[in-house]
Symmetry: C2
Subunit: 459 residues, 2 copies
């Protein structure tokens, strides 16, 4: 790629303060490359380089920097240039910047916007977080049903510098209500005098400003169109969401699901750039909650301390038993959560899932139980380590595993359904969460099975 070849050259120009050559060289690069280059340059040079760029390019470069670098750079620039960049940024990227800033800073930045851009920014920020309204841009190209193809192309020529895309034109009536869309290429290919009404694709399902962004992704996949229209509560077209926003949304939502499965909260920034305190606080919440839940195991164990005192051999398998329940539960819950996210499962499927997972749990539990039985029964030092009743101990552990894995699988698969029914995000059912939930029950199952099988022998 260009950036790699040019980098040493550009670095030299920066050091030598040859600004006009530097400007020339930078304008050869993609905005994304300039943004990457800026990331590696000392902070005091960043503002210098940035000031060399024409406002339009500067705004493009700025949009491609990550949030933390954006904020840092803003502090290094004069108010005038900040104003120029913010006014020039595409509204959806600007929303993304402003929504992550502390309120007073965001307010201050809103203050430098032109009245027109202020209006736009304030409106977009008024929509809920993760809503389509936050992600849309209010700059799009419209056409009217009565226009001819040639009239439409003329109109596109006039407005083409502003909107994020003119690959799709949105057709509205006089009152601003959406009637359909038409692809630029169809207008190009049509007879010059053909009316737009005849080229119209009416099968357009508009998004609503307050829809969750995930709905935009689904609709995009269903419709296969490069830009989706967004309407307000009155049905008037107020913005569009484009394909590149959707890739960002999918990334973000997936990250959210992944870190939840791992039992933590989103850090809200790149790993190395988030403050240590901030990160620890984000993680401590879940960790403490899980810890408090896990404390129930200490309470449960207290009930069995007498049994352990009589048969210490039972204690040896406690970690094995409870981790098996946790692991099988994590598997089940992960698969179910993902299937839900991909729309493969609905609430009403819970019974089919439960039946299926009970069976899967039986098979998986029997497998693990058999392995454990064989391992204990054939261990070279079995009599020394597990005592003379090692066969019965092996049987106890094996049987408990079947029960624990079945229970873990069942709980892990149903938990996402319960959470969803109660109005929570099913992805909260992380692997550690399920493990914690299953641990206490695993102990109860183990010691109950043991007290039945070993009654009169060891207990």
């Amino acid at each position: 790629m260009l950036g790699i070849v040019l980098r040493p050259e550009i670095e030299e120009l920066i050091q030598r303060r040859q600004f006009s050559e530097l400007r020339e060289a930078l304008l050869e690069l993609l905005p994304a490359d300039i943004a990457e280059l800026l990331a590696d340059v000392p902070r005091e040079d960043q503002a210098i380089i940035f000031r060399l760029l024409p406002t339009g390019v500067a705004a493009d470069v700025f949009e491609r920097m990550d949030a933390r670098r954006q904020r840092r750079l803003l502090r290094g620039l004069g108010q005038e240039q900040v104003a120029a960049i913010l006014n020039e940024m595409t509204p959806d990227d600007r929303t993304a910047l402003l929504e992550d800033l502390p309120r007073p800073v965001a307010k201050q930045l809103l203050g430098v916007l032109s009245p027109e851009q202020y209006q736009i920014a304030a409106t977009l920020l008024s929509y809920p977080r993760d809503s389509v309204g936050r992600r849309m841009t209010p700059e799009f190209a419209v056409a009217r049903p009565g226009w001819t193809a040639v009239q439409t192309l003329e109109h596109v020529r006039k407005v083409a510098r502003k909107p994020e895309t003119v690959d799709v034109l949105f057709v509205t009536d006089e009152s601003g209500r959406l009637r359909g869309d038409v692809r630029l290429r169809d207008v190009v290919l049509a007879e010059p005098s053909a009316p737009i009404a005849g080229l119209l694709n009416r099968q357009v399902t508009p998004l609503k400003t307050r829809d969750h962004q995930e709905i935009a992704v689904r609709l995009f996949q269903r419709s296969g169109r490069p830009a989706l229209p967004v309407v307000d509560q009155q049905g008037a077209l107020v913005g569009i969401v484009t394909a590149d926003d959707l890739v960002d949304i999918v990334r973000e939502e997936s990250t959210e699901d992944i870190v939840k499965v791992g039992g933590t909260a989103m850090l809200g920034g790149p790993y190395l750039q988030v403050g240590l305190w901030h990160m620890v606080r984000r993680r401590a919440g879940w960790l403490c909650a899980l810890f408090l839940g896990e404390m129930l195991t200490a309470t449960a164990m207290a009930f069995y301390s007498e049994a352990i005192a009589r048969a210490v051999v039972l204690a040896l398998f406690i970690p094995l038993i409870i981790s098996s329940g946790g692991n099988s539960g994590s598997q089940a819950t992960t698969l179910i959560i993902r299937a839900m996210a991909l729309q493969q499962l609905r609430l009403k499927d819970w019974f089919r899932v439960a039946r299926r997972e009970l069976l899967a749990g039986l098979l998986l539990g029997s497998t693990l139980g058999l392995i454990a039985f064989v391992r204990i029964a054939l261990w070279p030092t079995r009599v020394h380590v597990y005592g003379e009743h090692y066969l019965i101990v092996a049987f106890t552990v094996g049987t408990s595993l079947v029960g624990v894995v079945m229970f873990g699988t069942l709980v892990g698969s149903l938990l996402p359904f319960i959470l969803r029914k109660l109005g929570f995000d099913p992805a909260v059912a992380s692997a550690p969460f399920v493990a914690t939930l299953v641990d206490v029950t695993g102990l109860v199952i183990y010691f109950t099975v043991a007290s039945v099988i070993l009654h009169g022998i060891l207990l």
Copy 2:
């Protein structure tokens, strides 16, 4: 959406066998809606409905069905219609269908293709799985640098029915080498006599056929263009990847990461449609591997059975201690894996990460240790449950937790680096995997701390 309103009406038409009305009604719908409708219709009716559709629409509908339904439907159709649909499908979607079929079936289907389409399909299938070559379509619109805008538009008019997109035209020289791209809208907006060479965007980084699909996603995000060119080893343009493919790729890669974090393999199909045996086999592998690893805990515990026999109170906290190590490790590993996937961390950052995580582990471990100390020291029945030395027991558990959490955090954060260094996918470091790895060490830390602190008191 349309589908919901029309569904009862359409179902009636199917039942009454009013095929011409049915055909009319279906053509009002989006292909995605027809695909959804077909999913709910009895199998024998699916083929009937499908035969009503014009081949072009049928291919569109077929592309939007999931893999399992596609295969089932193919079996219900005559060879002629199968051939028509396969020849009409966009090449990239056809590749996705064929790559998941058993080899003999795929071969048979390849046999019904026209020589031209056979050539295309066979070429695409020759690229490695998850490579850009598998995802690209070889149908795109080209222009030559010497053409004028008006010549180019004429060319587009001629070819526009075939390529997946003409929103971007790719400019090649006589030998087929890529020179750059130009957006259709820029051609539309240009003077009719302007040469394409002047409108050319030369800052195009082409993908290579053997690049991993994830590279396409990154390049898409960097460049912000709606279609990316793909070149072969000689630099000749051989295909394009479009934005809608990219959303699919992001989804697929995220699913892979999510199920790995949850400690299982991809099911290779929607949850309820995958066979039970198939699913159990997919899950059993990891579960058994984890189980075998976890068996080390039983071995480790055997070393401490004497200590447990003397101080049963120690056994009570085993689940609490090991789960805390596992949970903190899962958190760390999840955050690191995701940061790696999002390109926020490189191999050389391992030391910074280790330092950071050790500190985070100290803070998190101290928090949990303090909670445990307070809980044990202030428990109403403390003397009865934990014995007269309950304060020293509380201190032992609290101190062990600091060590276990620090160790868990460190292992969890470094494991993805080690896996990557060794050439494995870091996402293999699932929450259950880390937990298993940390469990044995957790026990060793706990009993070592106990033997030091409780020496001469309980042990």
